[in-house]
Every structure is written in C-alpha cells, then in structure tokens.
C-alpha cells in the first residue's frame, strides 16, 4: 500500500494509465476489428521499438537535455550491422555486438560534445543528427555493393531477435524487460537517483558531491544504447536496412516521452511513462484508422494529445514544481540584491 501510494505521488503515470484505458475501451466498443488479436499484435509490434527509443530518450530528458540524434543513430547502427553481416559475412553475434557498441559510442560522442566541449544538448545532437546520417551513407554497404540492396539478412541469430511467443511479439517482451530494468535502475540504484538529482537541482547535486558529468555521460550513452537495441529489433523484422532508416524518429520518441509525463525541464518522469506514451500514440493512431478516419488524422491527434499532455504538465505537475521553486525564489527577491551580488 505504501509503495502504491508513493507511486501515485511520484508519477504522473496514473492519469495516463486511466486515459489509455479509456481510449482502449472506446475503440474496442466502436471498432470491433480493434479488439482482434491480430490488430493488438500489430500495434505491439509496430510501436514497441518506438517505445524502446522513448525509454532511451527519457534519460537525456531527465537530465534536462535532449537527444535529437536518435534517428540517425538508428540508421548508423543498422548500417553497421548490415555491413558486418552482408558485406563482411561476419557471424551474427559480431554484428549484434558491433551494433550495440556503435549505439553506445554515438551516445558517448554526444556526451563528449555536451560535457566537454560544452555545447547545448539541442545544438550538439542537432549537429550529430546530420553527422551520423552522413556516416551512415559513407559506410553504406548498399552503395559499395548495390546488389546487396535486394539481399535479405539470413543470419539465424539476427533473425531470431524478432519473433513471437504465441501472439506476443518478442519486441514487446524486450520493451517490458527494458522498462522493468530501467525502472529498477532509476529507483533502486544510486546512479538512477542521481539522474533525477542532476536534472532536478544541478547545484544541489554538485554540492552533494555527485559527479554530474559522469551522470550526464551515462544518460546520453544509455540513449544511444537503447536506440541500438530498438534498431536490432527492427532490422530483424525487416531483414535489411536503408540509409534513411529512423528519420524523424527523434520527434516520435520525444513526443512519446513527453506524453508519458517526462518533463522537458528535467528531473520528472520515468521510463514506464515514456513506453506508455509510445503505445498511446500507437493505439490512437491505429484506432482512428480502424474507425474509418482517414489515414492521416492520427498525426493531427498526436499533436493535439501532445499539447494536452504538456498543458496538463504545465498546469499541474510543473505548476507544483514551479510554485515550489517560486517559494524558494520569492524570499531571495524580497531580500534583494546585496552588495555581495554586484
């Protein structure tokens, strides 16, 4: 009961879960096709990888930063795996390791730019968004050997990444595992707590002796790592890749995280919310198409939901936080600027 209470207190997830259930029930009633197993399976497999990327995105956002480069990291990781298996005919596990390593390194390079070169996260990852995409083209085995564009990956290990337990796609199982692991990480490890700390009050974190830079490095590395995992899942299903894979993914992932209650100001939110946000987008989009709204309406709806989510955030959660901060700042305003401040 205590756990339950604290969950309700700490997360904005509760409202979201209710909203999700309502959406789900409404579609189930209105569109009979919606509640078919086939459809639900489709939603799960179509949105799990976005959920995984959104989980990764949660870390930079918790730190008060952002990672715009995830789409390009996805393209890059996929191309590394593609080259390893189809161009160099390396065994699948090498490809998988190389892919994961690529994701982590790409995240680390982002962190380097942000922590060391001290470039704002938005600009740094905007630049690497371009650079990683260029790198993807540069190493593209499809361009070195155009015949490969029509060759599918046959490596059994790679292909075994995606599959189904009965009606449940592996991708969804991975997402569940990732959410559980990251939630444990965020709530039960010191590093996880430090993520909230750095994003919530940078100065206090410094004073408490937390190695702020290291926390940031980890955050961006995790973003790259989870993007790599999502990429492997996606590749296993598509059995190939193309240079443009993942374009625009950053915006879906950010939208999912924000809808899931992760605050862009940092320090608030969790990975469960981000994953839920991805499925809310997925369920709404699919549901709307199924009830006969034309295929393009979902984009409008996603945008509207995003605005509602951020308004909710702004007028409830953020307001509480802001009022909290204002209380702290008000008295300093009262005391005013002493000689010491000038």
């Amino acid at each position: 009961m205590l756990k339950f209470k604290s969950l309700r207190k700490t997360s904005a997830n509760f409202g979201l879960i209710w909203f999700y259930l309502v959406v789900f029930i409404v579609f189930s009633l209105v569109a009979p096709i919606f509640r078919t197993t086939q459809n639900l399976t489709n939603i799960l497999s179509a949105y799990s990888h976005i959920g995984i990327v959104a989980v990764g995105m949660t870390f930079p956002l918790l730190l008060g930063g952002i990672d715009l480069s995830v789409g390009s990291i996805m393209g890059l990781v996929a191309m590394v795996v593609f080259d390893a298996t189809l161009l160099f005919h390396l065994p699948g596990w090498v490809g998988i390791l190389a892919g994961l390593l690529t994701g982590i390194l790409a995240g680390l390079f982002n962190a380097f730019l942000i922590v060391r070169v001290k470039i704002q996260p938005f600009i740094a990852t905007l630049a690497t968004l371009t650079a990683y995409r260029g790198l993807t083209y540069a190493i593209s085995g499809r361009q070195i050997n155009p015949d490969l564009t029509v060759v599918a990956i046959k490596d059994p290990l790679l292909l075994s990444i995606d599959g189904r337990f009965g009606q449940i796609p592996f991708a969804f199982v991975y997402l569940i595992v990732i959410v559980i692991v990251t939630m444990i990480f965020l709530r039960l490890t010191r590093f996880g707590i430090n993520m909230y700390s750095v994003g919530g009050n940078l100065l206090a974190s410094r004073l408490a002796g937390i190695n702020v830079d290291r926390v940031k490095v980890l955050g961006y590395a995790l973003s790259g790592f989870f993007t790599a995992i999502a990429t492997l899942v996606l590749m296993s299903r598509m059995r190939s890749t193309q240079e443009g894979l993942g374009q625009g993914l950053e915006l879906s992932a950010i939208a999912a995280a924000v809808i899931g209650g992760v605050s862009l100001n940092g320090g608030i939110g969790n990975t469960f919310g981000a994953a839920l946000g991805a499925f809310l987008i997925g369920t709404l989009s699919t549901g709307l198409i199924l009830i006969g709204v034309t295929g393009y309406a979902p984009q409008v709806v996603i945008g509207v939901i995003l605005i509602i989510a951020v308004s909710y955030d702004r007028f409830t959660v953020a307001r509480r936080k802001r009022r909290w901060l204002e209380l702290q700042h008000n008295d300093s305003a009262l005391i005013g600027s002493g000689a010491s401040r000038t």
Binding site: V117, I123, Y132, V258
Partner: protein, 328 residues
Amino acid sequence: MLTQDTSARAGTITIALQRFIRSYGLILILAVITFSFTIIQPAFLSLDNIIGILYQVSLVGTMAVCSTFVIITGGIDLSVGPVLAMSGLYTVFTLTANGQLLIPALLIGLLTGVVCGLLNGLAVSILRLPPIIVTLATMSIFRGVALLTGGSTLHAVSGPDSFLFIGQGKIAGLPFPIFIFAIVALIMLFLQTRTRFGLNVFAVGENEEAARLCGLPVMQTRLLVYVISGIGAAIGGLMLTSQVNTAWSTYGSGVELDVIAAIVLGGTSLAGGSGSVHRTVIGALLIGEMNNGMSMLNVSVEQQLIAKGLIIILAIAFNNKLLTWAEK
C-alpha cells in the same frame, strides 16, 4: 578613482574585442573557408558558382531569416516544414480553382503561414506553453492537415507563367529566388534594426521582466515572431512549389533542422537575447558554401553530411572559445 578608470578602460577594450569577435568572427570563418576552397579549386570563386550557391541557399535562407526573431526571443519553431507544404498545396489549389489567377493564390499561400504562425504564437504567448513542445505538436498537426487536405499524391502546377517565375525566373541573369531571399533578408534586417518591433524582440529575449516593466508589449511580440516565422515558411512553400512545378503534402520534412542549423551557425544562441538577421544570412551562406565547395571537390554527399555536422560543432565551439577568451 584612478583604479576605477583603468578598470573601466580595460572593460571597454574587452567589450570592444568581444563585439569585434561577435560581429566578425563568422565572417572570418566564412572568408577562411572561401579562401581555402578557392586555392584548391579556383572555379569556386567564379561568378556562376557564386550565383549557384546563392540560389541553393535561397529557400532555407529565406525561412531561416524569418525564424531568427523566434530564436532571439528564446523560442523555437519546429513546425516550418509542414507549413511550407501546406502553403504550396493551398496556393496550387487556389490557382486551379480560380483559373490561374496569381494574386489570390499567393495571398492564400501566405495566409496559411500567418494562420499557422498565429496558432503557434497563441499557444506560446497566451497559454505560455514551452515553444519546443508546442511547435513539435503543431509540426505533427500541420503535417496531418497537409496530408488530409493534399493526400499523398503530387499536385502538378499547370501555370501561370507568373507563378512559375517565382522559382524559375531570372532577372538580369540572376535566378529570382535570390531576389526573394535578398528582399526578405533586407526586410527582416530593416525590422530588426530600424523598427520598434525589432527592438521589442531583443528586449523580450534579453530580459522579459525588464521589458514588462518598461511597458513593452511582451505577449504581442511573442505572438508576432511566430507569425513571421510562419510567413517565412509559407514563402518557402511558394518558392519550392514553383521551382519543382508541384505541391506535395510531404515537402519540407526535416527542413526545420536546416533552418535552425543556419540560425545557430550564425551564432544566435538558442537561449535567446542575442543574434541577428545578417548573421543568419552568413550562417546560411556558410552551409551553402560548404555544400557547394565540397561538391566541387568531389566530396561525396555522405562526407558532406558528416562535415556539415562537424563544422557546426567546430564553429560553435570555436566561437564559444573566442568569447570566453575575450572575456578574460
């Protein structure tokens, strides 16, 4: 008193140095790049090539100068891509419906930008929602609307010639888009340096509370900068549609990042309170010059992309370093 004087003088020198670096650091970088390309490939400085560069940057450049005010106020506009698409679509629709009358079609196109900008601006200024989320959301919404109204098919432009002139015409051998870019940039520069509105933009971006205490129209200013950004995107839509003879609901995907890159490369801080239109022009030119120069040197497209990312990082890191150095 003496010590105060010397420290004041030292301060003045520092300020002058900072200002010099702020104003000319970029031009320096531009000059160095131009020089290097020219040494390696003399044709780089040929008139034809320069015109080519200007033509290539005119679309993103026009949009970027119009978005600069948004960034100066500390905001951001991610929704320019779909606005570009919508503007092109509705212009073509109006042309078709109105028997190829040019003026109403252009007005409808521009009006699209105004309406979209108003929606962004209202959400940011009145609801006080964070601009990055608002425009991320409207990016999705506007794209959806573009797709709903324009479908996924290409809409061919069947004329009139006056419309096609916007993207394809030439005056005195110069492509017309260059004139559009130049005129829009000059108007924006004029707004920034000569008008009260331009000063309000800076004041709001630099110190919102002080601006309020000076009785400046903070909300209206915030609203208007998004409208201008919308108009810029709409002009971009007209240019693109005319250039390629078609309107399409997916045009402009990803253009928002090019636009922001040009502004940021120009040295405008995303934190607001600094920046200027002429530096955005330089930023756009830098990107155009790099693309062009590298193409001439037969650098492949992919390496160009990598280089572009790295140069953005280097230019910003370099500028930061110079500034911290100057502040010492």
